[in-house]
Amino acid sequence: MKESSSDASSLIRVENLTVAFGAEKVVEDLSFSVRSGQTLAIVGESGSGKSVTSLSILRLADISGAHYLGGRILFESTKGEQDLLALSQQEMRAIRGKEIAMIFQEPMTSLNPVFTIGDQIAEVLQLHEGMARKEALAEGVKLLKMVRLADAESIIGRYPHQLSGGMRQRVMIAMALACRPKLLIADEPTTALDVTIQAQILAILRDLKDSLDMGIIFITHDMGVVAEMADDVVVMRKGHKVEEQPVEAIFTNPQHLYTQTLLSAVPKLGAMNGEDFPKRLPVSVYDEAGAHTEGELRVQNTANYEAAPLVRVEDLVVRFNVKKNFLGRPTHRVHAVEEISLDIYPGETLALVGESGSGKSTIGRTIQQLQESQAGNITFNGKRFADMGRGEKRALRQKIQYIFQDPYASLDPRKTVGFSIAEPIRTHGILHDQELIEKRVSELLDRVGLSASHGRRYPHEFSGGQRQRICIARALASDPELIIADEALSALDVSVQAQIINLFMDLQEERGLSYLFISHDMAVVEQISHRVAVLYLGQIVEFGSRRQVFENPTHSYTQNLLAAVPIADPHQRIMMAINEADIPSPIRAVGNEPARLSHREVAPGHLVANQ
């Protein structure tokens, strides 16, 4: 392996770092360096050791029981060069937050809910800069303005739950930068955010890196974000560095087979231009034996628009009461879904895309009868929900299955996966004979790419991708006609994601399944769906075939959404003005009804809301 460039100008040099938890080495012989003003991206999938690396630099991995078996982390601190691994926790505390700061993945849980934003920012300044509280709060306002939060004076006195995810992540950045650290570690800072908010946060980080002359270690699994942010890239796999190159070279000339397969698995927005139908693409798989390609290329022409629609949603309205007054009358409501109409045809994949608060999940939950609607009709196979009896509604649960984002949370940890898969077969009384049920479970496991013997194991024994396969097997168990996949791929690594996409497409081809595919990932949607509905604050702003929406986005919101998606190509960086305001909220006072959008047809089947 090539030695890292260890020139004297390095801000931090990690040399041959090996970190273990117990007997298991999670990082092995890792070396890299970062200069001031440089952004180094560390890329890898789950289990690559990238987060442990960042926590080791701050020596926070110690708290979870990490041992440093070898190597040095040389940091150019104000006291001269120090080996961070040789420092005591007390000495590290003078460096944490002051010279090296960190931003974490989950903005929703990164801030302490019981303290004001101001106090949490001031705390760092009081600790490291010896400021008085009043002085620190004044500095806090400046910092919030630096991260482009409008209304900083009022935000300083608010509590975290009063801010949106994007605002909280800006606060986190302000907090991390309070003492003007030399090095910023950002661990998946935008993964939990909507794309337009992500674009804002990335722009702010890039901007501040230059003005403060920081080094940044940017940890991510998203190649699009890498292309967006990085100067140099370290690719990690299973605790090892497999490749290190400048960002251009990583994308144009990846050396290691793993990097190549990783890049090939990333769905690229615009890759499907000129195609009428979604496409099943071969997947490159990398394992110890090397890389090989699985599956064939196939055009997914499964949607049957001649038939009657399987599901018809007409003028659906779903609202939730969120605030009540003294007498218990609602004063504020979430307008989750506002008069939405759409059809799903047999064999079709209809994608619902939009950002948080757009109502996309609520539509899915209402069709699955997990949520009551306030108005409108849903028709399944020509029969309205409203006309169905209890028995029919129960039977419908068999025909419509749901797959959730978190495959771990949706499997009972105390039951074998075989039991979980057999459960819908038993509850819907599809099979009664124990032997036949077992046979069916084995077939299903086999169909989703697992083996029959896996049925006797428990969910914690499987990886995230395998668990999602189990959830798919369970969904198939009751022989459904519609599967609602709600962000079903979002928690998976890209290489696994590509395999699951193909599984979805194969099952559709075999069984003529319809999918309602709910996602915020535009590139995946472009690959998998026949038609796309773009939602904004509970209403459809654009609706059409995949090709119409992606190749000719007509509504300004669709255009913004597509423009904000980071492309895995360092030459196509997003150029976006930093927006100081936050996205509007679907919460409204009672009586303050949102204006209904009217639509025009710009091409056959391509509906766009009038602006």
Partner: protein
């Protein structure tokens, strides 16, 4: 917030009515105060008993007696004890402060011990310290409180002669009863603190607090503890009821002139006015404490306050 408090007040009044009604009715099923008063007095005729009942007013219909009691509640006139005719109000005025002071110290002792121990156990999860703390908490849960009280008396009063064995005589006499109650409460509280702390320590904001460079002490006692407050306060509020129940026993052992002793004697004598009033006051205390808990929620958790 004001609406919320009014609602809770109404609930509290309703709960008090139900409790007193049940208690007043139930105690009348258990025995005749006239018989109790005349026990061992030799030749008592049925006419004598009837006269006594007449004098005590217990021959009237139950509801009449109950409404009289309710009227007394509003006018702060709880009537007179069947024993010696002392004003019930005076009896309670004498006993209530001793019990509340004892309850306060017990709670304080328990909080002072259980919070640091619980946090220590959580921080050193599954290590030796944690195991030791958990074993001791199990031991504390398992033995009866009066046994602990007797042991303390044996050691500190009889063997070493350091503390007064019983009665409320000077500040030293508070130590053993409060410690006895405190330790019993601590046994459960340690476990509660440990569990809520474990959950909180996994939160992302704890990692963030550490990444700021804060000392471990600040991370635990400022950032983590405040977030544990809601479940802890809820539990302490509920525990207050159990505490008052436990105090009845402890007061007997230490001969403490509090509500417990008062209630105990009143049960023995079927002294309806005293018993009704003590139970009403105790249940009112419990209801008030839980009302206070609801208000404190808002103070410690901005998510509730700003709703």
């Amino acid at each position: 917030m004001a609406g919320f408090i009014v609602k809770r007040m109404l609930q509290a009044i309703f709960a008090t009515l139900i409790v007193t009604l049940l208690v007043s009715y139930a105690i009348r099923l258990t025995g005749d105060p006239a018989l109790m008063l005349t026990q061992g007095a030799g030749s008592i005729t049925e006419a004598d008993l009837a006269r006594i009942r007449e004098a005590l007013g217990v021959n009237r219909p139950f509801l009449v007696q109950y409404f009289e009691f309710l009227r007394g509640m509003v006018t702060f006139d709880f009537g007179k004890s069947f024993l010696g005719g002392t004003s019930v109000g005076l009896l309670i005025k004498g006993a209530l402060p001793s019990t509340l002071v004892l309850a306060f110290w017990s709670m304080l002792v328990s909080i002072m011990i259980s919070i640091p121990l619980g946090i220590t156990a959580a921080v050193h999860r599954n290590k030796m310290v944690d195991q030791v703390i958990r074993v001791f908490s199990l031991v504390g849960l398992s033995f009866p409180n009066f046994w602990l009280a007797i042991m303390l008396v044996l050691v500190f009063s009889i063997t070493w002669n350091l503390l007064p064995p019983s009665g409320m005589v000077g500040s030293l006499s508070y130590i053993m009863p409060s410690v006895t109650m405190g330790i019993i409460l601590t046994a459960t509280n340690v476990r509660l603190v440990r569990t809520t702390m474990l959950e909180t320590l996994n939160a992302q904001y704890i990692m963030v607090a550490r990444a700021k460079g804060l000392s471990e002490r600040k991370v635990l006692y400022k950032h983590a503890l405040r977030n544990c407050a809601i479940p802890l306060i809820t539990y302490l509020g509920l525990q207050f009821g159990g505490l008052l129940g436990g105090i009845v026993v402890i007061e007997r052992v230490f001969n403490w002139p509090g509500m417990g002793t008062l209630a105990f004697d009143a049960v023995g004598a079927r002294d309806y006015p005293v018993l009704q009033a003590t139970i009403m006051v105790l249940s009112l205390m419990i209801i008030l404490v839980n009302l206070a808990v609801d208000i404190i929620y808002g103070l410690v958790d901005p998510r509730i306050r700003t709703e």
